[in-house]
């Protein structure tokens, strides 16, 4: 394509933005909590990767290791009354709301104790009690659904918001464009969060779009937007705070473009550097230097004096919790055959 535009500049250059985060005036305990959330996601996804490698998990698992800061930064401003929707790469969005770890692991293994009763697997999670209202893998499909959730929030009049997580690839689906317009025209409290990891499956964004920044779609639809470093939990949190507050106040939708990168392949537990049309070992190594977790711990150590022991203590708790969740999942039973028909219509099979 002629004239591809690198509109993201440093945000898309993994040599930049690799240092310790600027923690602004955020409280240390709050920041340590974000560390815990991000590490929980990372360790949980590593455990899922292990289940896939061992052959225990068969359902397609799309892992978001490297992208943890986005969901954690956004979720910091959400509560259980809000309505979060996600897509195929949804573990982080689910866990960042503190949805149950064991429900996720059980769902990955297709067990009746899973978040979706074992009916969905990794790509279909559900925990409305904490605000996670569902993920499904048709690219773009939950975006208008989140807009409708926003319509429900507006009609309810309780200041709740709906959130749609999606990727840069999803922006190529026409429904994104329709959804942005509808949310704008009806002034709905919807936060669109695009995790721009510069890839859709095997294709680099420069093979799919004329610019690497997708916020231009929000601009076209006159939706208030922020383009930020998605590997900086502080930056994500600030942008989310702003736009969510506006949405709650009735000012209509907002859009976050969080630039990030996934460390693993499109699906499954491998790096897949051979699969991407441009993705290379060098690119991946470079991006790992922009690790959202390490940049936070560096900053917490350097400017807040948080010691290694505090991190280690948290890590130990996380490992234990993840191990327990995996054990729970393994020990759980599969759904009974009868649900195959019972769940089709209300009141059971027709």
């Amino acid at each position: 394509m002629k004239g591809f535009q690198n509109a993201l500049g440093a945000l898309a250059d993994p040599k930049e933005l690799t240092g310790a985060l600027d923690l602004k005036n955020l409280p240390t305990d709050w920041l340590v909590d974000k560390y815990r959330d991000m590490m929980t996601i990372r360790r949980a996804e590593e455990a899922v990767a292990g289940l896939v490698r061992s052959g225990e998990a068969k359902a397609p698992c799309h892992l978001g290791i490297g992208q943890e800061a986005v969901a954690v930064g956004v979720s910091a401003h959400l509560n259980a009354g809000d309505k979060v929707y996600s897509g195929h790469r949804g573990h982080s969005h689910y866990l960042a709301l503190h949805a149950p770890l064991d429900g996720m692991m059980a769902e990955v293994l297709g067990k009746a104790t899973g978040a979706s009763g074992g009916m969905g697997g990794s790509m279909h999670l559900f925990a409305p009690e904490v605000g996670f209202h569902g993920s499904v893998p048709i690219v773009g499909a939950t975006i208008p659904i989140a807009v409708g959730a926003g319509l429900a929030c507006k009609m309810d009049g309780k200041g709740q918001v709906a959130v749609a997580y999606f990727g840069d690839g999803a922006c190529e689906e026409g429904v994104v464009h329709e959804s942005l317009n509808l949310a704008r025209v009806l002034d709905l409290p919807v936060l669109f969060v695009c995790e721009n990891n510069l890839y859709s499956s095997h294709l680099d964004i420069h093979l799919r779009q004329p610019s690497n920044s997708v916020a231009r779609f929000a601009e076209a639809h006159r939706v208030d937007h922020r383009v930020i470093d998605g590997n900086d939990v502080v930056a994500v949190s600030e942008a989310a705070a702003d736009l969510i507050a506006n949405a709650r106040a009735g000012k209509g939708p907002g859009f976050i473009e969080a630039v990030t990168f996934r460390w693993l392949g499109h699906v499954g537990p491998n790096e897949d550097i051979d699969v991407g049309v441009r993705r290379s070992p060098g690119e991946l190594t470079a991006w790992k230097r922009r690790d959202p977790v390490r940049r936070l711990t560096d900053a917490l150590s350097a400017s807040r004096g948080v010691g290694q022991d505090r991190f280690a203590g948290i890590d130990a708790e996380i490992v234990r919790a993840v191990d327990e969740a995996v054990a729970f999942a393994r020990a759980s039973a599969y759904p009974e055959d009868r649900v195959l028909l019972d769940y089709v219509y209300a009141g059971g099979a027709a």
């Binding site: 009763g117 499909a141 807009v147 429900a152 009609m155 317009n181 769940y343 009141g347």
Partner: protein
């Protein structure tokens, strides 16, 4: 009391549903226009306000998706598609989403959505403004598909759809809009209780149909009476899930069966009805092969004489039935 037309009955259904349930709202193209959906929603925006009767941009997919989203969050939206042809653009949200969310998320959530698709054909409107694609939606588990054939059903099924715990396709045909009858007071309706019913009794042949095709079947039955043949007419009403009991009982009794449908033949509703009878009635009870009356295997034409050749009439049905006695 005076007769109420099918079109007005639809509007009464909206009024009842929206009055009873503050969580019920309508959304779709043309809802603020006096002439758009054949007057079947006239003045609803004035009565309930433009916040509950929402006219939308030309965005079938996102509009339907937004209704699914509202439905998943405690509302009972009725999405209106002024033509089934345009609704194809919303198929992902209908088939991949609305039909599946309950099942694939473990039975814990329900898209309580009604999706109204209008069949609007004839009048030289042509191939992209004439389709009756109910058979597509009947193919998809998780969707309920209602096709009212009378003014009473037009109202009552609208209410059932608006109150349904499952996603419902409510499919009305503008060729029915002039049908009129006196209506009993409106009441809540359980969608699961909507089942096939006999519209006319007869012992010689069973004619099964839905929506406007019931009108054709009834007219054909009148003609056939003149031929000395008593036709039983079964109105299917809920075409998915389809309760076959009545159809099987009637076909076994008459021994002759014809399905009439306003859609195409291949993999259509008429095929399903024949298949049900072929599976469920012993061949020894059948006095003739089963038969279908459907559209020819062609897109809808525009030109007047071609339209006349394209759409089956009561006479087409009569001729097909007569052959079974030949």
């Amino acid at each position: 009391m005076s007769a109420v037309s099918y079109a007005d009955a639809i509007r009464h259904g909206f009024e009842y549903a929206m009055e009873r349930d503050p969580k019920c709202f309508a959304i779709g193209q043309g809802l603020w226009s006096p002439w758009y959906v054949g007057n079947s929603m006239r003045d609803l925006d004035r009565r309930f306000g433009k916040e509950r009767v929402i006219d939308t941009p030309v965005s079938e997919l996102a509009t339907t998706g937004a209704a699914v989203g509202a439905a998943l969050n405690g509302y009972h939206p009725i999405v209106v598609h002024p033509r089934m042809d345009f609704m194809i653009l919303a198929a992902d949200q209908i088939v991949n989403q609305a039909a599946k969310w309950r099942h694939m998320l473990g039975g814990k959530v329900s898209p309580t959505i009604a999706i109204r698709g209008i069949v609007n054909r004839g009048g030289e409107q042509g191939a992209q403004h004439s389709q009756a694609l109910h058979s597509w939606y009947a193919h998809v588990p998780g969707l309920r598909v209602l096709m009212p054939a009378t003014a009473a059903d037009a109202r009552d099924m609208l209410i059932a759809a608006a109150q349904s715990p499952d996603p419902v396709m409510y499919i009305d045909d503008r060729w029915c809009y002039e049908l009129a009858e006196e209506l009993a007071p409106a009441a809540d309706i359980d969608v699961a209780a909507i089942r096939p019913m006999v519209r006319r009794e007869g012992g010689d042949v069973t004619i099964a149909a839905a929506s406007y095709s019931v009108t054709l079947a009834l007219k054909a039955a009148d003609l056939l009476a003149g031929d000395g043949i008593e036709a039983e007419v079964v109105d299917i009403r809920q075409v998915n899930p389809l309760d076959p009991t009545l159809v099987l009982e009637s076909a076994a009794r008459t021994g002759r069966f014809v399905a009439v449908d306003g859609g195409w033949s291949t993999c259509g509703l008429a095929a399903e009805l024949l298949a049900l009878v072929a599976e469920g009635v012993a061949p020894s009870r059948l006095k003739a092969p089963l038969a279908r009356v459907t559209l020819p295997a062609a897109p809808a034409p525009t030109s007047k004489p071609l339209e006349a050749a394209y759409y089956p009439t009561a006479e087409t049905v009569r001729q097909r039935v007569l052959k079974l006695f030949g």
